[in-house]
Symmetry: C2
Subunit: 279 residues, 2 copies
């Protein structure tokens, strides 16, 4: 299945997907930077998390979601999940004829701009860190950069349990981040969409001399640039109520709604459940 | 799809499934109690965990797995996952004509036998506790029992990260178990197949006057009883090497193998990946 670019219109929506709720931190940035755009969000809450699963499985799941989003009127798709961006984006770009934007490339760009000493840390899921993709993209931009990756598998469940400010999260952060501190990094990429929610904990551990990079900001900027280039930016002035964002999940619509409303200010009134395995 | 009981033979295998690796604690008990039986295990590692997902989704996933196991030569299926036993077993029993054994009923039986003061605690996933099924089954056996359920969502990721003996696991256990201690229970059901792996932590928190019930033991006993009743017990004397257990997962065969070999002594040489969504 593929969507021809000829069909794309500025009135169309932006598709955004994630393994669950984390991608809403990216949605939040998109809403801030290009508030006229309608968003169709899909969170794969039935199969979350992706971060400890294989490249093949993450790619298969992501492909189904892109097919689902393409069955709606979308003009671009944001892969708002670091794991899916790291594992699946290259393959999806070859398969689908629609602009796809991941969070990895924008994140590396921001990190290379921020670093002074060329020592950059990346925290993410097991799959993201193992892919080595952050390191590869960073070295494309700055050959002499030293990149240190560290998988932090307990951060996602801790965030999802709401322990955003908690001594247990402090202790786990201390363990995960110790070796990055020892490496003398001056920039740290928050390479998982859940991590901005524990930004203050991570920042406290790393100290104020280390710049924290949230790829969500740069991703929204990149999306805006791309839409401008392709003449697809929506210039229609719209009120919040008339935009009609849509939220879909593969499980637990009610729980999603509660979590989502804690992250974005939009006021999500409903989320629909989709059987994503059928796509 | 259904399998007629007429086809069942004592030479057939026992199907066992779980959302991931936790069900291997049940496999370990089956191997101990009825070592002549061949086991076909399926772990849904692509969609793990089940514990925070809805009844509908857990039932759909479980149905696919039972279909997969029925495509092999199995004479009974053990639902070695508390969440699937709590959410899906009733429906699966109506759909499939093969003996199905969950872990909930055997667990409640053991708890009712163990308690002296009739105050029983249950720890499990959100879905298991919300289902209220332990409480229902316990009261069928002992009307005046008081049952206290507590969801412990962080135990599974902590176990999977290998923090079986760790101050962080102690701290989380302290928080989860405090209210159960206050309720004056004398028996606690470990209502998730991951929990036997942190039995010593839970035992230390609860104190030695509280009996810990691991449903795996009673489930294996129940399976043995059922096979005897139906004349399906395998009486052939077999050596470990000739039994030929089979292990299937939906993702990450290599990682599964490592974890599995830490739980059971059998020495798993290979695990095969299956696309379970096709069943």
């Amino acid at each position: 299945m593929s969507v021809s670019r000829k069909q794309l219109s500025e009135k169309s929506s932006i598709g955004v997907f994630d393994s669950g709720v984390g991608g809403l931190t990216v949605v939040r940035e998109i809403m801030r930077q290009i508030p006229n755009e309608s968003i169709i969000y899909f969170g794969d809450t039935a199969r979350v998390p992706y971060g400890n699963k294989s490249k093949e499985t993450v790619t298969r799941f992501s492909r189904q979601i892109v097919r689902f989003l393409c069955s709606h009127d979308v003009k671009a798709i944001v892969v708002a999940c670091n794991t899916a961006s790291a594992c699946a984006l290259d393959e999806l770009e070859q398969e689908f004829d629609i602009p796809l934007i991941g969070v990895v490339k924008p994140g590396t760009k921001a990190a290379v701009e921020a670093t002074r000493n060329g020592r950059i840390g990346v925290i993410g899921t097991e799959a993201t860190i193992q892919s080595g993709i952050y390191s590869r993209y960073i070295r494309e931009l700055r050959k002499d950069a030293a990149v240190y990756g560290k998988a932090c598998p307990l951060f996602v469940p801790l965030v999802e349990e709401g322990l955003w400010q908690d001594p247990v999260t402090d202790e786990i952060a201390r363990r995960y981040l110790a070796e990055l501190i020892d490496c003398g990094i001056d920039t740290l990429i928050l390479g998982c969409t859940h991590y901005p929610l524990i930004r203050s904990t991570v920042g406290r551990m790393m100290g104020e001399d280390v710049a924290l990079v949230n790829p969500a900001y740069e991703t929204a900027l990149e999306l805006k640039r791309l839409l401008e280039e392709e003449g697809l930016l929506n210039h229609e002035a719209r009120t919040l109520g008339s935009i009609g964002h849509q939220f879909y999940v593969s499980d637990g619509a009610e729980k999603f709604k509660q979590f989502a409303n804690a992250i974005i200010k939009y006021g999500i009134l409903s989320a629909k459940v989709v059987n994503i395995e059928e796509y």
